[in-house]
């Protein structure tokens, strides 16, 4: 199985591709995630970020392409590999980076860290560290949409590793039974930590995992922003129309180890290099834009802007104060 290469299922129609403006925006949003994550890796190496830190490098097209299909009020939830989702949702690089360094100015005021950030304003419901838990919570977000009578949808992101958890299938059943507007997005980056999909899952066609419950699914080239977006548009329309959940298997790839302390010896360097060279989601869009007449200078300007934003976030994250000692005791309970 290769990232987005083989066996791409086209169960829906080919929608219109993206406009140049959309490609430009996608280039910006994906590159922001890439540069932000590289910086996070750097700060981790400097000892400024402690503990666990799971980078999203390589998977950028998935969240950016899906985000482009959403509207205000749609709800998001994911695992601990969450930095990309947060930036795509419009959370600020400063707030995310400051949380990574455990500072008072972070989204959780330094009490959550890399794996646990939230934004009520951006409808981002976390950053969850227990593999698969976000899927059951995610159908709860969809339940709330339905209970309130809105046409909002919920996106529950999880990896190929989480796809084997029992509660994922309990959630499929509940979502289908109650026709909940939930899009299950399996980010299949081929490895659950160090175990390949082949060694972990008897089924290699995860897009079909919802079939027993009648949940339509598609396998999508998750390295191609236009394809991701087209599939997301179809899934969102399905959910908004009240037809129940939808499953997208995004074939993608992470360039870095599972977490910062993973030497990734379970795969060959050549495998990573090959995908990086031939399938990189950002370079792919760069070429589309250049072919469409965007100049190198235009792209360089975007890159410079992003570099400034990311450097600013790192500076902010390093110079912000640590949380006050009194914060240890706050936010345990709300006043009744």
């Amino acid at each position: 199985m290769q990232a987005g290469k083989d066996d791409i299922q086209k169960t829906g129609g080919n929608g219109p591709s993206l406009t140049r403006e959309q490609f430009t925006q996608a280039f910006h949003d994906m590159l922001l995630i890439r540069r932000f994550e590289e910086k996070a890796g750097q700060l981790y190496g400097m000892g400024l970020i402690g503990g666990f830190c799971h980078l999203y490098i390589g998977q950028e097209a998935v969240v950016v392409g899906i985000q482009m299909a959403l509207k205000d009020g749609d709800k998001l939830i994911t695992s601990y590999r969450d930095h990309g989702q947060m930036l795509a949702a419009g959370m600020t690089p400063r707030g995310v980076m400051a949380e990574l360094t455990g500072r008072a100015t972070g989204y959780s005021r330094g009490k959550g860290g890399s794996m646990h950030m939230f934004s009520r304003e951006k409808n981002f419901y976390g950053g969850h560290g227990i593999v698969g838990a976000q899927v059951a919570l995610g159908i709860g977000l969809a339940f709330a949409n339905k209970y309130r009578g809105t046409d909002e949808v919920s996106i529950a992101y999880f990896g190929d590793g989480a796809a084997n958890q029992g509660q994922v299938y309990e959630s499929f059943n509940l979502a289908a039974l109650h026709k909940l507007p939930c899009i299950f997005v399996i980010e299949n980056n081929l490895y659950g930590m160090g175990t390949s999909v082949e060694r972990a899952s008897a089924s290699h066609e995860m897009w079909r995992n919802g079939e027993p419950w009648g949940i339509p699914g598609r396998r999508v080239d998750g390295m191609d922003i236009a394809t991701v977006n087209e599939a997301a548009v179809e899934a969102v329309a399905h959910c908004r129309a009240g037809k129940g959940p939808y499953l997208l298997e995004m074939m993608t790839y992470r360039y870095r180890g599972h977490s910062m302390s993973d030497p990734a010896k379970y795969r060959k360097r050549e495998e990573v290099d090959e995908i990086r060279k031939t399938r990189d989601p950002i370079e792919h869009v760069r070429q589309i834009l250049l072919d469409a007449g965007t100049t190198q200078e235009d792209l360089k300007a975007i890159e410079n802007d992003i570099k400034a934003v990311v450097n600013d976030s790192a500076e902010f994250a390093q110079t912000s104060p640590e949380p006050d000692a009194a914060e240890l005791y706050t936010d345990v309970l709300l006043e009744a």
């Binding site: 910086k39 890796g41 750097q42 981790y44 190496g45 400097m46 000892g47 400024l48 402690g50 503990g51 666990f52 709800k75 360094t101 455990g102 972070g106 989204y107 959780s108 005021r109 009490k111 959550g112 646990h116 939230f118 009520r120 419901y125 976390g126 950053g127 969850h128 560290g129 227990i130 838990a133 059951a136 919570l137 995610g138 159908i139 709860g140 977000l141 339940f143 709330a144 209970y147 029992g166 509660q167 309990e170 959630s171 509940l174 910062m260 302390s261 030497p263 360097r269 990086r276 640590e322 000692a325 009194a326 240890l328 005791y329 936010d331 345990v332 309970l333 709300l334 006043e335 009744a336």
Partner: protein, 453 residues
């Protein structure tokens, strides 16, 4: 501008490492993502990737060098055409704030551990006329009242709707509130509890009924990791107003897997409130308060009590505060602290003791977290003796916590060591005689009290 490449920390615990091999040499062009070197950490050999583009100007630490501290400059990166400096531009960077910042802060641990001043218990409000109802009816009335009061409240669980509740606690609710708000769930506790917690994070107020609390173990990850911790992990952004309720503890002859008390389990967890009512008034007043509470509340009922009748205020607005114990019987010679079904057993023991001239004060905790330590301590200061009674296992149980609180706050008032009465430290047996032997009886309490008075 020349920049230093620093010895990276490649694991949460790495403080130094060995440069096993340089994969680039001086003068090589570097682009982002290139592997520069291999470093042996305390755990593994890791590749170091370049973050910035440029030319590898100078290697400061040769391969094979060992015990290189994190953040030591190991190479210098320059731009095309730039002169390569001899030495690192910066002195080795100060180690990061979170590792070295040992400036004294207010000492939170001691602040937490020190006995806090206890407020004087307030007298309970008089709610006026009462009528006799069962605990089952009280719970049912509480849910109906809160479902009427707040459209964001809904009930879900196994057999709660069409079947009218496995123990008929939700009888009639489907008819009044409809299937949108009284929702049957498949037998899938992990999934539906996660779903309910997710809905609560958006501000809805689910009541999750577990057919018995034993089945909440299937879902305990969501109760603790998802419901109890999210407010803290989100820096106060996301509360979780939800109630997890159902019968707890031993029923009768249902064996080991269906007979256990979760009081101590859930009371251990910051971010949860844990309520354990005894009477109909407790059940009604505290369930209403639990549903209105903005925090996750574990509400531990008791199957044997469902059919018992107690006087309960008839006032439509009747509600009880979470966190307040009740002195069910006053007495001067010993304080018996207990909760749930054991309150009745303790009162029975107190009657027997009274006939022997010993006046026991019986405290019904009603809430296990937050514990009403003030009421317990005030009583012990009067009686100077403490006996705790619970149905659950003794080790690390509620009795252990109550005794410790009394030791912290009223050690000098004690005239005898506290005594703990609990269920036997074994899985619940099935045989009628063995089951009876496994559970605390009034005679155990009488004997324990007579041993210290």
């Amino acid at each position: 501008m020349a920049t230093d490449i620093l010895m990276p920390a490649l694991s949460p615990t790495m403080t130094e490492g060995t440069i096993a091999r340089w994969l680039k040499k001086e003068g090589d062009a570097i682009s982002s993502g290139d592997v520069l070197a291999e470093i042996e950490t305390d755990k593994a050999t890791m590749e170091v990737e370049a973050v910035e583009e440029g030319i590898l100007g100078r290697i400061l630490v040769p391969e094979g060098a060992q015990n290189i501290a994190v953040n030591t400059p190991i190479a210098i990166l320059v731009s095309e055409g730039e002169e390569v400096p001899e030495k690192s531009a910066a002195a080795p960077q100060a180690a990061p704030a979170h590792q070295t910042d040992d400036a004294p802060v207010a000492s939170p641990v001691s602040a937490s551990a020190a006995p806090r001043a206890l407020s004087t218990p307030e007298p309970e409000k008089d709610w006026g006329p009462t009528a006799e109802i069962t605990v089952r009816e009280a719970l049912n009335q509480a849910m109906a009242a809160e479902l009427r009061r707040d459209p964001d409240v809904f009930l879900l669980g196994e057999e709660v709707a069409q079947y009218q509740g496995a123990y008929k606690v939700s009888q009639g609710l489907l008819a009044e509130f409809g299937e949108k708000r009284v929702i049957d769930m498949p037998i899938t506790e992990h999934g539906f509890t996660g779903m309910a917690v997710g809905a609560a994070l958006t501000g809805l107020k689910p009541i999750v009924e577990f057919m018995t609390m034993n089945f909440s173990m299937q879902a305990i990850d969501h109760i603790i990791n998802s419901a109890a911790k999210t407010l803290y992990m989100s820096g106060g952004q996301m509360g979780c107003p939800i109630v997890f309720r159902g019968p707890n503890g031993a029923a009768a002859r249902v064996g080991a897997q269906h007979s256990q008390c979760y009081g101590s389990w859930y009371a251990h967890v910051p971010g949860l409130k844990v309520v354990a009512p005894w009477s109909s008034a407790d059940a009604k007043g505290l369930l209403r308060a639990s549903i209105r509470d903005p925090n996750p509340v574990v509400f531990l009922e008791n199957e044997i009590l469902y059919g018992r009748k107690f006087e309960c205020p008839t006032d439509e607005d009747f509600i009880l505060p979470i966190g307040k114990a009740k002195v069910e019987r006053e007495g001067a010679h010993v304080t018996i602290v207990t909760f749930s079904i054991m309150v009745g057993v303790a009162l029975q023991a107190a009657e027997e003791l009274a006939q022997q001239g010993i006046e026991a004060e019986v405290i019904n905790l009603r809430t296990l977290r937050p514990l009403d330590t003030a009421t317990v301590v005030e009583s012990v200061k009067k009686t100077s003796r403490l006996v705790t009674v619970e149905e659950g296992w003794p080790f690390a149980g509620i009795g252990a916590e109550v005794a410790m609180q009394v030791i912290e706050h009223a050690f000098d008032w004690l005239d005898a060591p506290p005594v703990r009465i609990a269920g036997e430290d074994v899985p619940m047996p099935f045989a009628a005689n063995l089951e009876k032997l496994a559970l605390p009886q009034a005679s155990h309490i009488v004997d324990a009290v007579r041993g210290i008075v």
